[in-house]
C-alpha cells in the first residue's frame, strides 16, 4: 500500500514540476518577445524575475512536502496565468511609460507590485497548506465563515472606511492601502455554503409537491435561498455591483442544486435573479446605462461605451493570430491592465491566444470539479465545486462582459488581472483545492483508487 502511494505521489509531482518549468519557459519567452517588440526593458525587472522564479519553485517543493498527492495541474496553471498577466501588465507599463515621456503625465507602473502580489499569493498559498492539514477542519467554522462573509461584503459600506471606485462601492481604504473585501468573501462564502449545505442537504432535498415536473418547495425550505437572494440584492443595492451579486447568488444556487439534486432550485434561482435584475434595471440608472451601452455600444463610442468599443476594436485588430505580444494598441482601452486585460490579450495574441487562455481556465475549473468527484466527504465535494463555480462564473461574467456577450460588470479575471486582493484570494482558493485533493487522494489510495 505504501509503495503504491509513493509511486502515485512521485508521478504527480514530476508532472507538476515539468509543467511548471515548461510554463516558466513560455512566460520568459513571452517577456523576451514583449521587451524585444517594444524595445524597452525596465531595469529592475531582473531581480523581480529571480524572486518570482524562486518563490514558485519553492511553492512546488512546499506541495511536495505537505500536499504530495495533490492534483499536479492546478498549481502550474495558476502560476502560468499569473505570469502571463504580469507580462501583459509589464507590456502595458512600457506603453504607458513611453507615452508619458512625451506627455509628461504620471503613470502607474504595476508589474512590480503585481509580481510582489504573486509572491505574497504563493506565500499565502503555502501558509494555508501548512495551517490546514485537513480540509474537513474548515467545516467547524461554518458559522464563523458566514459572519466573516457578511462582514467582508458589508465592510465597504462603513462610512470613512469604504471607497467608491468607478461607481462601485467595493473597496475599503486604510491609509494609503485599499483592498476589495469582496475578494475574500469569494473564499469564505463557499466555505459557509459548503458547510451549511453539507449539514442540511437531506432536509432540503425533501421536496414532495410537484407541478409540471417542477418541485414546489415548502416555505421552510425556501428560507435559505430567500436569504441568499436578499443578501445578493443587498450587495447589488449597496455596492452597485451586478457582477459580485450575480457571482454569489449563482454560487449559492449552484451548490444548492448540487446538494439537493433538485432542479427546482436552478429554476427558482434563475427566476429570482431575473426579478432582481429587472428591479435593478428600473431602480438604478447605472444598471440601465450598462444595459443600453451593451445593446448598442457604438452609439456611445465616445463616452459611456468608449471602453467597450475600444475593447471590441482591439479584439478585431487582433484577429485570429493577434498583433504579436507587445505590438498592438492594447493601451487604448481604459483599464487594460485590470478589468480589460482579456481585451489586451485578444488584441496581441488574437483569437488563438484567447481560446488557449480560455481552455486553461476550463481545465482549471474541470480539475476543481474532478477533485470534487474524487472527494468522499460532502463538505469537501461542495467546497471544491464551490471554488470551481467561483472561478468559472467569474470568467464567464468578465469575459462575457468585455466581449459584449452580456452587459459589463465589475469582476476580476482570476490570476491575470492586476489587483492584489484578488490575487491573494485566488491563491488561497488554489491552496484549498490542493488540500482537498491531497486529503482525498490519501483517503482513496488504500482502496486502490488513487487517480
Amino acid at each position: 500500500m505504501t509503495t503504491l502511494q509513493f509511486k502515485v505521489r512521485n508521478h504527480r509531482r514530476e508532472v507538476e514540476l515539468f509543467l511548471l518549468l515548461l510554463f516558466l519557459g513560455i512566460a520568459k519567452l513571452a517577456l523576451f518577445i514583449v521587451e524585444n517588440a517594444t524595445g524597452f526593458v525596465i531595469p529592475t525587472s531582473g531581480y523581480i524575475q529571480i524572486a518570482i522564479l524562486v518563490s514558485v519553485i519553492v511553492g512546488h517543493f512546499f506541495i511536495r512536502a505537505v500536499a504530495s498527492s495533490a492534483d499536479p495541474f492546478i498549481y502550474p496553471i495558476a502560476v502560468f496565468l499569473n505570469l502571463l498577466g504580469i507580462v501583459m501588465i509589464h507590456r502595458l507599463d512600457i506603453a504607458d511609460h513611453i507615452r508619458s515621456q512625451s506627455s509628461g503625465a504620471k503613470v502607474s507602473i504595476e508589474a512590480p507590485s503585481q509580481s510582489t502580489w504573486l509572491i505574497l499569493g504563493v506565500a499565502a498559498f503555502g501558509v494555508i497548506l501548512i495551517l490546514l492539514r485537513d480540509h474537513r477542519q474548515l467545516q467547524r467554522y461554518t458559522f464563523t465563515a458566514m459572519v466573516a462573509g457578511l462582514v467582508l461584503l458589508l465592510l465597504p459600506l462603513i462610512p470613512g472606511l469604504g471607497a467608491t471606485v468607478n461607481g462601485a462601492r467595493l473597496w475599503i481604504r486604510i491609509g494609503s492601502q485599499s483592498f476589495q473585501p469582496a475578494e475574500f468573501a469569494k473564499i469564505v462564502l463557499p466555505i459557509f455554503f459548503a458547510g451549511y449545505l453539507a449539514r442540511n442537504r437531506a432536509s432540503m432535498a425533501a421536496i414532495k409537491n410537484r407541478w409540471l415536473g417542477i418541485g414546489i418547495p415548502r416555505a421552510r425550505e425556501l428560507g435559505p435561498i430567500a436569504l441568499a437572494w436578499m443578501l445578493s440584492i443587498l450587495v447589488l443595492i449597496s455596492q452597485r455591483d451586478l457582477g459580485t451579486s450575480l457571482l454569489f447568488f449563482g454560487l449559492f444556487v449552484g451548490l444548492l442544486y448540487m446538494a439537493t439534486g433538485q432542479r427546482t432550485w436552478l429554476v427558482l434561482g434563475a427566476l429570482l435573479f431575473s426579478v432582481g435584475a429587472t428591479v435593478a434595471y428600473f431602480l438604478f440608472s447605472h444598471v440601465r446605462l450598462r444595459t443600453t451601452v451593451w445593446l448598442d455600444p457604438f452609439a456611445y463610442s465616445s463616452d459611456e461605451g468608449y471602453q467597450l468599443v475600444q475593447a471590441l476594436y482591439g479584439f478585431a485588430s487582433g484577429g485570429i493570430f493577434g498583433r504579436g505580444f507587445g505590438q498592438g494598441y492594447s493601451w487604448l482601452v481604459p483599464y487594460a491592465k485590470s478589468d480589460f486585460i482579456l481585451a489586451s490579450f485578444g488584441e496581441e495574441l488574437g483569437y488563438a491566444g484567447l481560446v488557449a487562455i480560455t481552455l486553461l481556465y476550463v481545465f482549471l475549473v474541470q480539475r476543481a470539479l474532478r477533485i470534487a468527484l474524487a472527494t468522499r466527504d460532502d463538505f469537501g465535494q461542495l467546497l471544491s465545486t464551490g471554488i470551481g463555480l467561483v472561478l468559472g462564473l467569474q470568467i464567464f461574467v468578465v469575459f462575457g462582459g468585455v466581449t459584449r456577450l452580456i452587459p459589463l460588470t465589475g469582476l476580476t479575471t482570476p490570476f491575470l488581472a492586476a489587483g492584489g486582493s484578488a490575487l491573494i484570494s485566488n491563491w488561497i482558493m488554489i491552496a484549498l483545492l490542493l488540500r482537498i485533493s491531497h486529503t482525498s487522494a490519501l483517503l482513496n489510495a488504500p482502496s486502490g483508487d488513487a487517480q
Binding site: S102, M258, G261, L312, V365, Q381, T403
Partner: protein, 481 residues
Amino acid sequence: MNHQIRRIAGLLTAVMLLLIGNLSLTQVFQADELRLHQDNTRLLLEEYGRERGSILVGDKPVARSVKTGGTLAYERQYVDGEMYAPATGFYSLVYGATGLERIYNALLSGRDDRLAVDRLQQLLAGREARGGVVTLTLNAKMQKVAFNAMAGRAGSVVALDPATGEILTLVSTPSYDPTTLSINQPASVRKAYEALLADPKEPMMNRPLTKTLPPGSTFKLVVAAAALASGKYSADTLIPGPATIKLPNSTKRLGNWQGTACSPSGKVTLRRALEVSCNTAFAWLGMQLGADAISAQAEKFGFNQSFTTPLVSASSVFPAGLDDAQTAMSSIGQFDVRATTLQMAMVTSAITNNGVLMKPFLVKDIRTSELGLLESTSPINLGQAQDPAQSKALLDMMRSVVTDGTASSGLVKGVLVGAKTGTAETGTTALPHAWFVATATYQGRSIVVAVVVENGGGETEVSGNRIAGPIAAKVIKAAFL
C-alpha cells in the same frame, strides 16, 4: 452528488464554449467591419506609428517622417515642399494621400509585399519597422533653379532626359507646402486645405502633367516633322510665307505675328519658316499635308494618350474631323489643339533622341528601409516618332531658331541649344500663354526643357522668347554648368 457535479462541470464548459463562440464573431467574422469602423483610431495609429519611408531626390529626402513624441508617433514633413509638391503630393490625416505618397503608399508605409523579407529582418534584429524608400529621377539643382526662375508666376517647367525618359524637372507654380496638409493637427490641416482650395490660382493643381493649353507655335515642330515625314519637304524646300493667308470657306484671314511676309520674296525655306515662326507658311503647310498626316505625327509624339509616370498625365489633344481652315489654325497650335507641358517636352525629346520617343518616368527606383534595391525603373521605348535622319534635320532647324530666329533667349554659352517659342492665344481677353521648348546638348549628353508661363503677357511671338525662354536657359545652365 457526483451526478450534479458532472452536470455543473458540463454547464460551466458549455458556458465557456459559448464565450469562445461569441468571441469568434468579434475576432474573426466581424473583425474587418470593426477594423474599418469610422471611429476606430487603430488604423491611423498603426499608419502613423511606423516610420514612413522617405522620398528621395538624389540622396536627400524631400519627404520624410519625423518622430513627434505625441500620440501619433510620426509626422510627415517635406523639405522644399513647394518645389517638390507636384511629385510628392501630401500625406494627410484628414484628406488622405495624393501624388506619389498615394501611389507608393503600400511601400512607404511598409505594407508592400516586396518588403516582406525586410520586415522579417527588422523583426529578427529587433528594429522598429520602417517603410520603403522611393527615389525620384528629379535633379535637385535643376528643380530648384526652375522653381525659382518661375518666380511665382503661374505655369510649369518640365525637363527630360531624352535618352531615357527620366523626368529631371517637374515644377508647378504657384505651389503649396505639403507639410501644412500633413502635420498631425487636423484643425490646422483643414484650414490650410480650405485656403488652398479657395485660391483662384489653384496651387494644388499639377500643371505640368494635367493642365492642357494650346501649344501655340511650339506645335509647328510637329507640323515640320510631318512635312519631313511626307518626303515632299526638306529643310530647304521653299514654301509660301505671305503676310496673310486666306482660310478656305471663311472670310477670315490668318496673319503673321510680325504683320508682314516672312521674307521679302514671300517665299521661305522650311528652316526659315521655323526660325521666324512663320504662321502663314505653317498654315499653308498644314493644309497641304492634311489633318490626318499631322494627327498621325502628333500621335507618334504621344498626343491623344496619357502617360503613367506613375503620376498620370492628361492626354494632349489633336482633334479629329478638321476642315481645312481648322487644320490651318491647328497647324500653328491654336483652335482645339491642347498639350501638356510634359507633352511638348516629349516632342522635343524625340527630336533630340534620333526620333525615338522614351516613356517619361518620375521614379528612379524603390528600395527597402535599409536602401536595398527592390526595383529600378527601366527606360521604355515608346517607338520611332520620326525617322532618325529627319529628326537630325529638325534638331538642326531648332538650333538655328536659337542662333538665327525667335528663340535667342535660349542661347547658353558653350551648350548646343535648339528651341522653339510659342505664344498661345487663349481665345479670351486674357494674356496669351508663353511657351518655350528647348533641347540642349553638352559633352555628348542631352536634355530637353519645356516651359509654360500662363498668361505670360505680350501680344506677339516675342513673349515666349522674352518670358519663358530665360527660364529654360537657366534650367539648361543648371543641368550642365
